[in-house]
Each structure stands twice: as C-alpha cells, then as structure tokens.
Amino acid sequence: MIRFAFKRALRDIRNNFYLHMVCVVTISLAVFILSAFALFYINATELLDAWKQGARVIAYVDGDLSDARQGDIMAKIEAMNGVAGVDFVSREAAYESLKEDIGDQSAILEGLNENPLPDSFEIRLSETFINLDGIGRLAASIAAIEGIDDVEYAQKWLSRFAGVYNLFKITGLVLVAMFFFATLFIVANTIRLILYSRREEIEIMRIVGADEAFIKHPFYFEGLLLGFTGAGIGLGFLYLAYLATVPNFAPDILMSFFEIRFIPGMLLAGLVLCSMIIGWAGCHFSIKRFLKI
C-alpha cells in the first residue's frame, strides 16, 4: 500500500511538474527566509553571550596624571557598583601593545614624533552586572570623574545591535507565525489546483472502487515530498549565501572573539521536519475540502 502510494506520488509529481514546482519554490522561499532569520538569531545570541564574557570598559585619561591622582581615580572607580577590578595602562604600555597588534604595519608608527596614546584605566566588570544599561550608566559615572577624558567600551556598537536583536526577539515569533500560515495557505491552494486538475482521475478512481485512503495517501506523500524538497532547496541556497557572504562580511574585530557559524544540525533537521509538516498540513486541508468521498 505504502509502496503504491509512494510510486503514485512520484508519478503525480512528474505529471504535474509545473504546479509542484510552484509549490516547491514557495516552500523554498519561506524556508530560506525563516532559516536566514534563525541564522541571524542564533549568531546574534552567541555574539551577545561572547560579548558579555569579554566585557571591558576603557577610561582614557586627560593629559598626564600624578601617581596620587592616578590612585585616587582608581579608588573611585573600584568603589563603583559592578566593577570587578581596575588596571592602569600607561601610554607607553599602550603604545607597545598597539605596535604588537598591528605587527608588520608597525612601521607607520615610526613616523610619529611622539606617542599619541593617552594613559588609561581598563575596568573589568563583575559577571552579575553585565548588561547594556548597567554598563552605559557605569560609563557615564566614570566619564564624570575629573581627569577622565573619554570612556569607551570596546563593543559599544553592540548596544545598537542589541536593540535590533531585541526587536527581532519580539517580532520573531510573529514572523514565524506569519510565514507558517502564508506558506500553509499557498501550499494548500497549490495542492487544490493539483487536485482540481486531477478531478477526473479521482472520479475514475472512485468509480473503480478506490477507498478514501487509496486516493488520499499519495497526496500526503506528495505534501511530505514537497516539504522535504522545498526545505532542502531553501536551506541549500541559504548555505551557499552563507559561504559567499560571511567571510567577506564579518569584521575582523568581531571575528577576534566570535565566529559566525551556520545553523546547527538539530535545528536544520527541525526546519526540514517543519517544512514537511507544512506540506502535509497543506495537503490535508485541501483534501478535506476537495475530496468529499
């Protein structure tokens, strides 16, 4: 029975190739968009986690500092809520570190008459404190200390990114639901067109004594196959897009503490399964409405 149904499903796909392709392309597009969203979401979450682990605040000093003044500022910072420790980085140490970081290109620094880098304090944050609002407030407090010229936290741009991330988090479920129903609707209507184009064949099957299961099962197989193929194509294109864009797109500063990776295997399997369920459900709704045996 299953063999018959599967064979018939394959033959039906071959015989109604264009309509089935419309369905596959629709599913592929939906899977592509949803998995691109998933890809962003997964990496954004990991990026924020990685940032949290390496969070630092740098306070740059205005001009030269006496040892007493340096100790005074350090004490003020250490007393602030959320600070795990403070290290003083002299302008000489910063210059050496910079030379080391830029490596072969350090020759460009030789043209400078004097070291342009200021003294700074590198502030480590306690784990319980790490959140964007808290760091923002801490940075403002440090900036208010007399003798501090500017305050940077290396991943400052992440605050803007986190805003986008939070927006995605909220709208994510809405997007998923919208795409789910839109795809379901399109798949169901495509299958209805297929059923309509085959109404005479279905009528003949009924006349020769086909029962409900015999008529329906191939369509369910078709739905599952369409979902599977659509997901395969959608994810395949996403992977190609990932390979083509990520190495060129990701900034070095980001890649130094974070690696953009593709959707993990389990989630890929889940997406394929969801796509197959959509194919199956699309068939089910169409069959229920169209085949009133």
């Binding site: 029975m1 018959f4 033959r11 015989n15 005479e200 064949e201 009528e203 003949i204 099957m205 009924r206 006349i207 020769v208 004594g209 086909a210 029962d211 409900e212 015999f214 045996i293």
Partner: protein, 237 residues
C-alpha cells in the same frame, strides 16, 4: 478482495424472497425539480444479459449510476446482491463499487497513465499483490486484443482501442456485474461489434451484464431481456 462489511445484511429486512441479483422496487430519482426516474421496479438475475433502452434523457444513464452508487435513489429500494444500497455507508461504497465493472461512452480513461496502468488501477485499489496484478492485467489485455499497446497512453489510441481498454478495466477485477453506458455510442460498426463480442465473452464467463443503449440494431442482434424507459418511467420489461 475484502469481505462484506459486517453492517450489511442480506435483503436487509425487505420483503423480497427471490434470488434476484439486482432488484429495484419503486425507485425514483429527483434532481431538484426534475424527475429523472420514477417508479422503477425490476429484477435482474445472475448471469442475465439485459439491455436498458430509451431515447436520450429517458433515464438510462441515471439508472446505471444508481446501481454503482454514482447517485443515490431519492425513492424506493435497490438491492444489489442482496444488499440494500440505501443502507450502504460512505465507507462501504468503495467495497460495493468493486462488485461492478463500469464502461462509459466517453471511456473515462486516465490520460496520464498507460493502458496497463489504467487497467491495473482496479486491482491496485483492491490491494492485490504486484505480481498478481501483472499476471491478470496481461491476461485481460491479451483477451481484448490490445496487449501490444500496453505501454501506450490513451490519447494515442483510436476510439475502438480506448473502449477495449475500458472493457479490459471493467473485466480485470472479475466483477459480478458489468454495467455499460452506451459502450458503442461513439464507435464505428466494426469496433462496436468487437466491443459487444467482448461483453458477450464476459457474460459467458458468468458476469451479469446490463447495457444502456439506444442502438436498436445492437438490441435486435441479441436475445436478452430489454428494459424500455420513457421519460424516466418503465415502458416495457
């Protein structure tokens, strides 16, 4: 083949004690305001070869459709093989239809299936094993003289060949009843004669044949009982 569903009982309590294979008692069929059949009572016995005749619109096709449950009667009772069709549930309809081989004037072949596949469909729906399907389909195609076209698709066949495929499909399941609705209506006399010969062959092998036709020459050439319909009523039996 599956056995009879348990919900069906012989005669179903109706007052018919004879052994008619098909019995209609005061059967009527309304389509909205239009009365297609009215007060039809008849009996067809096992291995009968019966003609249903009448002008276009007399109700011949409707009578055939009532038998294979393509329609349901709005009045009266129809017993097929002792089973009251008005009591057949939706789930039991496919089982009931497998008792019939049906032939249509417009052949009703699936154009995207080969000749072999069109005929095999009847056995596939009955869940027969592939080797048995293969054996029986080849045998019936041989019998109707179309084995050499088994891999062809219906659109490339002539009208006579298409109807032979339809006859093969009607016979392959070895049904108890073969219903033919104007089977020679769109064929030339030679092809019509050949189709009629095939139906006679099925009759000789034990099938009960009911042919709806307005071809009087065909009826005269055969000595079976004739049911004459006029405006949905029986004019002669």
């Amino acid at each position: 083949m599956k056995s009879r569903p348990s919900a069906m009982t012989k005669s179903d309590g109706l007052p018919f004690l004879d052994d008619a294979a098909i019995r209609m008692f005061r059967v009527g069929k309304q389509f909205g305001e239009v009365s297609a059949l009215k007060d039809i009572s008849l009996a067809v016995h096992e291995n009968d070869f019966v003609f249903v005749t009448g002008a276009s619109g007399a109700g011949k096709s409707t009578l055939i459709r009532l038998l294979y449950l393509g329609e349901t009667a709005t009045e009266g009772y129809i017993l097929v093989d002792g089973i009251n069709l008005s009591r057949v549930t939706r789930r039991q309809v496919p089982w009931m239809r497998r008792k019939f081989g049906v032939i249509f004037q417009d052949f009703k072949l699936i154009p995207t299936r080969t000749v072999f596949e069109n005929v095999a469909l009847v056995l596939e729906v009955a869940r027969l094993r592939p080797d048995e399907i293969n054996e029986r389909v080849c045998a019936v195609l041989e019998r109707v003289g179309i084995a050499d076209r088994a891999r062809e698709y219906p659109p490339v066949l002539s009208g006579g060949e298409k109807q032979r495929v339809a006859v093969a499909r009607a016979m392959v399941g070895e049904p108890k009843f073969i219903l033919a609705d104007e089977p020679t209506g769109s064929l030339d006399p030679d092809s019509a004669g050949r189709i009629f010969g095939l139906l006679e062959g099925a009759h000789q092998r034990g099938a009960t044949i009911i042919i709806a036709t307005h071809d009087n020459e065909l009826i005269r050439a055969h000595s079976g009982p004739v049911i004459q319909l006029e405006n949905g009523r029986m004019a002669m039996n």
